[in-house]
């Protein structure tokens, strides 16, 4: 079962995590699905976490892996992070690594503005 759904908006791939928990149980599948997309050339990605109520360090690690895979070729923006999940980003200081936006639209607008 896929952990994500995707929609293409112009040259941006919006990836929505469909699971409520991005944790050790699904981190590997999620990482693989992200890698397929990125390897297929999708290097400007908005990751929509608005369905996600819990992220553990394997889930966060898989997001970091995706960012590294994209590298300097593109962008990985994170959108829709709930408060409890945001704590995970701030505790690990990953809020300074990722560009974070309240909604997918905000993330898309920031890309258009460039």
């Amino acid at each position: 079962m896929a952990t994500i759904t995707t929609t293409k908006a112009a040259n941006v791939m919006v990836v929505t995590v469909t699971e409520k928990r991005l944790d050790a149980k699904i981190a590997v599948s999620f990482k693989d699905e992200m890698a397929s997309l990125i390897n297929a050339g999708e290097t400007t990605v908005v990751l929509d976490l608005s369905n996600v109520g819990f992220v553990d360090s394997s889930g966060l690690g898989a997001i970091v892996t995706s960012l590294k895979l994209i590298g300097r070729k593109g962008d990985l923006l994170v959108a829709g992070v709930k408060d409890d999940v945001m704590t995970m980003f701030t505790l690990t200081r990953m809020d300074r690594v990722f560009q974070m936006f309240p909604t997918t639209d905000d993330a898309l607008n920031s890309l258009i503005a460039k």
């Binding site: 149980k25 690690g61 590294k68 409890d84 300074r96």
Partner: protein, 143 residues
């Protein structure tokens, strides 16, 4: 106030149930955001038991949850491999957020546990490992 025991086969499915149960019982004496953090600490500790203590072998995970008015104490038990002393003593997470190559993809679990919980102890006696995590509660339980 009350003690609840939780246990199950050490799998990521069980860890999910444990995490949700822990959050719910902690929310009865703590704020909902603090309860979410305690869930995170316990999930990290439990994942480590699945991934490192038992690695390829099967085993059980058991938790004693002591919900008090002043503190929450959660003891995690396993009968797998013992954590090397170096591991549970060096729980830092240093990296340059601007340097892509330097970003950690793992090794954040112990750091998170230490950041979230107030006290942490680990003992291994006769093949039984116990990690005890304590969180002190402050003032009113506001949601």
């Amino acid at each position: 106030m009350a003690l609840l025991h939780l246990s199950g086969e050490a799998t990521f499915d069980t860890v999910r149930l444990v995490g949700m149960a822990i959050r719910a019982v902690c929310a009865s004496v703590s704020s909902s955001s603090e309860a979410a953090q305690i869930e995170l600490a316990v999930v990290e500790a439990s994942n480590n038991i699945v991934e490192h203590a038992y690695r390829a072998v099967q085993g059980d995970i058991a938790l004693d949850v002591d919900i008090g008015e002043k503190k929450i104490v959660i003891a995690l038990h396993d009968t797998g491999e013992t954590m090397p002393t170096a591991s549970h003593q060096s729980a830092n997470l240093d990296f340059d957020p601007m340097n892509l190559d330097d970003l950690p993809e793992g090794g954040m679990g112990l750091f998170l546990m230490t950041s979230i919980m107030d006290e942490q102890s680990y003992v291994s006696v006769n093949g039984k490992n116990t990690l005890t995590l304590t969180k002190f509660l402050h003032g009113e339980n506001n949601d």
